[in-house]
């Protein structure tokens, strides 16, 4: 009962590792866990159509089962009048801040990944994954075209017979601002702060790719491996996801549409130095 974040209508329960365990919004309770996993990028041999490497153009995991980044150390909790947050680290150069702002109907997850280690000469693709028990019947939603949420069905295309040869990559879709799922009673949405890729590879599960570092060109024309560096190391990326839960399609739409607008057209901050007192300045 003590291990929760938030004060208002949105509460977030966490386990002893500081990870999400349960959330409650307006009395709707959802058991949900979140972890970071990574796929090994296929090294390929770049023959036409077969064994092409995972790279800038294509996502192609070598194995279907990803590795899990394990929690490390003891999470630190900060609580205060405006925000509660937990700082935690995972293996594999992944860390996150899980936070709930007062009066905001969502959990904010600020992730930081990198530099992705490649000492084992294996390219890696890191994913944030949310797990629930919702019976979503193979269905999820992404806003690939940036306008509306489009229905996606696992291992299925509405206009042709799909032969699934790559169960992971074949079910990934672009995300511009959000990915969502529901079981008709509980509506779960994860919003992103940038375009990413994602899927629902099991019922009740959502995953979003957040960083990639790959060692081979995929032979689609770019001529380079997706192995960006800065300061002599792989890139470090930092961003946010917002996790929302609602009990109706209408409430869900209201929450995620307003949040997506605010993420896309966020308030702009600038500063003015002054030696005036407040009264003089006013």
């Amino acid at each position: 009962k003590k291990a929760f974040l938030g004060k208002g209508k949105f509460l977030l329960g966490v386990d002893r590792n500081g990870r999400i365990q349960r959330l409650s919004h307006n009395g709707n309770v959802l058991d949900v866990t979140q972890d970071y996993v990574w796929y090994e990028g296929h090294p390929g041999n770049n023959s036409e159509f077969e064994f092409r490497a995972s790279g800038a153009y294509i996502f192609r995991p070598w194995h279907e089962k990803p590795h899990v980044a394990q929690p490390q150390g003891n999470p630190i909790v900060y609580k205060g009048p405006l925000v509660d947050e937990i700082h935690m680290n995972f293996g594999f150069n992944v860390s996150q801040v899980l936070r709930v702002y007062k009066d905001k109907p969502e959990a904010e997850i600020e992730w930081l990944v990198g530099p992705i280690p490649i000492g084992d000469h294996v390219g890696k693709e890191v994913v944030s994954r949310f797990n629930t028990q919702l019976d979503t019947k193979k269905t999820f939603y992404t806003d690939s075209n940036g306008r509306q949420l489009l229905k996606r069905e696992r291992n299925f295309r509405p206009t042709w017979n799909l032969n699934v040869t790559e169960p992971i990559a074949g079910n990934y879709y672009p995300i511009n601002s959000r990915i969502a799922m529901n079981d008709g009673k509980t509506f779960v949405t994860v919003l992103t702060d940038r375009s990413q890729g994602g899927s629902s590879l099991k019922d009740g599960q959502l995953e979003i790719m957040i960083h990639r570092r790959l060692l081979y060109d995929d032979a689609f024309g770019v001529g380079e491996a997706l192995n960006e560096e800065a300061f002599g190391e792989g890139l470090v990326v930092r961003g946010k996801h917002w996790l929302q839960v609602s009990s109706s399609a209408e409430a869900s739409a209201k929450n995620h549409r307003l949040r997506a607008q605010q993420a896309f057209m966020d308030a702009q901050i600038s500063f003015t130095p002054t030696s005036l007192s407040f009264q003089e300045w006013k």
Partner: protein, 181 residues
């Protein structure tokens, strides 16, 4: 002179599929970044003029007040908030409805008052910056804390918050760490 045309042209260039999806060669990506950065800088000039028309001039100078942006906020880095004992934080809401934004400013220590335009001190909280952020390669910042406050903003409008050092509130506004286990 500030002009939004540069940004308009750059965004047009960056609608090439290589820029949208990240499939450009690295050198081309650097070029996209440089063009976008220049476009953003020109747009900031436009915003400066708008603010300067609305802001008071200082006693000692007839020149309009300076306006500073912090493009490295994504690494929790902002030279002016890290070195100033008082400043004005302008927060502009581009949406056509009121929004509440939790502003997070990088600072080197706790102990700041934040005064809203109506003269009321507003609630603040200070939290240490996570260690992995401090260790981001290339980060050049002495900030180790974030000052947090809530800005309730009007539609398509801005509010300016007066931020001033007050060491006497440091103890009260700093959130104490506790360990999960």
């Amino acid at each position: 002179e500030g002009d939004v045309s540069k940004m308009r042209e750059v965004v047009a260039v960056a609608q090439h599929h290589d820029a949208v999806t990240g499939t450009a060669k690295q050198a081309v990506t650097f070029d996209y970044q440089q063009r976008l950065s220049e476009g953003i800088q020109d747009c900031q000039e436009v915003i400066k003029y708008a603010y300067q028309n609305l802001m008071p001039t200082s006693k000692s100078s007839a020149a309009p007040p300076e306006l500073i942006f912090c493009p490295l906020m994504n690494t929790t880095e902002c030279p002016i908030t890290e070195t100033s004992t008082q400043l004005i934080d302008n927060v502009y809401n581009p949406l056509a409805r009121p929004v509440s934004k939790y502003v997070r400013l990088p600072v080197t220590s706790p102990g700041f008052d934040v005064i809203a335009p109506n003269g009321q001190k507003i609630e603040t909280q200070v939290i240490p910056i996570p260690k992995p952020v401090l260790l981001i390669p290339g980060r050049k910042s002495s900030a180790t804390y974030e000052l947090i406050f809530r800005a309730d903003l009007p539609p398509i409008g801005f509010k300016s918050f007066f931020v001033i050092k007050n060491a006497s509130v440091a103890e009260r506004q700093l959130s104490k760490p506790s360990r999960m286990a």
